[in-house]
Symmetry: C2
Subunit: 288 residues, 2 copies
């Protein structure tokens, strides 16, 4: 039985056909351009395979409220030409199979759970620090979903007193994404990736913002794992700094038996940059 | 069939016997003193009734991890004589019936859900702004519980730039509880309840801290209701100020269809000061 999977991102669509045990048999990467051009290539790829179900992890925000007629629609996104496009409906109509959609970061969280931690842990949080900041939460083995997917990238944080740069979020002067996303780093500091890697002061500030964001989630969920993904997380010094800042913030206040150390709690993705694609496969498997 | 319920607080224990439909037949209030004296009175009250199950909402932190041998134990609490006391075990052994325990604020959240909103809504958050600050989260009709109950009172917040008072939290210089709890208001401003009610500047700051705390939860859970309880919430001007500050923070960023207005989202408890007692009854009912 074949499962289709799409990681639909703002710059590229990764498409794959996999077995239900998660072995990828064929995959392709399609550049994200116009809706028509991109979707035509996506449908062409899948047309060669008799897939039984399809899972999608898509850039957001997306309407995931099944009682809303916009269910499966990409909402107001900075990629204007994709706004108000119902990607779920198109794929369902064309492929004539069950399709399950969630956000890319939810898919990453679910991929890490399903193909990484499922046998040992049921509660984990995946935070992506990329162009934007988002989070997916696996709670008791399922993706947490209220009336909307989590929007943790806009949590209000405590600004570093020496941080005089403006937030890059058009809505919030001091939110996680406005202070710490990839775009924020680029616009605020105007340094290359390599230049930034030499600026320990700025990396520590970045680590502190990330630590604040995940600390608030840690206090709320008491999870097994907090996984830090996304392009910014490739800065090698960042993960150790995040752990240090987290330790300082917690200041020995709050631990629980299930988590033995901050090193065990805060980790990199097991599936590297493929968490979302594997998550989409897992969603497809669950739909079968 | 009779259900027993206890709201175990740091200053008093409210005990009740109710029918399974939630009608309280008999109740009493016992002052919280030593463990022995308090528990003797509690057991004496229940000894006259053939209760089938007991629900408890207890001041925390409590070990709620059922795989931990300390399950049901009050952990390291400022009320030192109650620390490391397993209140669940005592009640189970003495009353010889199923006993369900959770925190007082979890009980409040569950009471508001079970006897207030159950028929319409499945996702709500109860935040208590009392001596301390805590939160209980009902997600899909159940209390959210990772490896520990939520500890949202210690989320890191953005401090008001004019707030030069020290945090009263021994662990965090800028956490929700350290900046905005009843103790924090008392120690930091040294004003009576009446004096504070005249200080619109301080009430607005308080409202902003509360708005930040609940905004972070709103972004994460997209709930139907956020209920503000606890002694500090009795300040009449506070709720309108919280809504105003919440609106300013959100700055038109994020809404979802299920919630029509901030007035509908952020509300006072339906069960007034009895949310936790009714929640304890509901827990008892669920155990039967």
């Amino acid at each position: 039985m074949l499962i289709g999977a799409i990681e639909a991102g703002g710059t590229k669509f990764k498409c794959a056909v996999a077995t239900s045990s998660g072995v990828i048999l064929q995959d392709t990467t399609i550049k994200t351009t116009t809706v028509e051009e991109t979707m035509e290539k996506v449908l062409k790829f899948f047309s060669s395979f008799p897939i039984k179900t399809l899972g999608i992890g898509c850039f957001g925000p997306i309407c995931l409220d099944q009682t809303d007629e916009r269910y499966g629609m990409i909402l107001d996104t900075p990629k204007k030409i994709w706004a108000n496009y119902n990607i779920l409906k198109t794929l369902k109509d064309a492929l004539k199979c069950p399709v399950k959609i969630t956000t890319d970061v939810n898919a990453s969280a679910f991929g890490e759970y399903y193909y990484g931690y499922k046998k040992k842990y049921q509660n984990l949080i995946y935070v992506t620090i990329g162009t934007g900041i988002g989070g997916g939460i696996v709670y008791n083995g399922n993706l947490l979903q209220g009336h909307h997917h989590p929007e943790i990238g806009h949590m209000i944080l405590k600004r570093d007193k020496d941080d005089k740069y403006e937030s890059t979020c058009p809505f919030h002067s001091d939110c996680f994404e406005g202070l710490a996303s990839g775009i924020s780093l680029d616009k605020r500091y105007n340094l290359s990736y390599e230049e930034l890697s030499l600026r320990e002061d700025l990396l520590r500030r970045e680590a502190n913002y990330i630590a604040q964001g995940i600390y608030n989630l840690y206090l709320t969920f008491a999870p097994d794992k907090i996984i830090i993904g996304g392009g910014v997380s490739h800065q090698e010094k960042l993960l150790p700094f995040i752990r240090e800042e987290f330790r300082k913030l917690n200041n020995n206040y709050y631990t629980y038996k299930a988590v033995k150390s901050i090193e065990e709690l805060i980790v990199s993705p097991v599936l590297k940059d493929n968490s979302a694609l594997y998550g989409a496969i897992a969603l497809g498997v669950m739909e079968k």
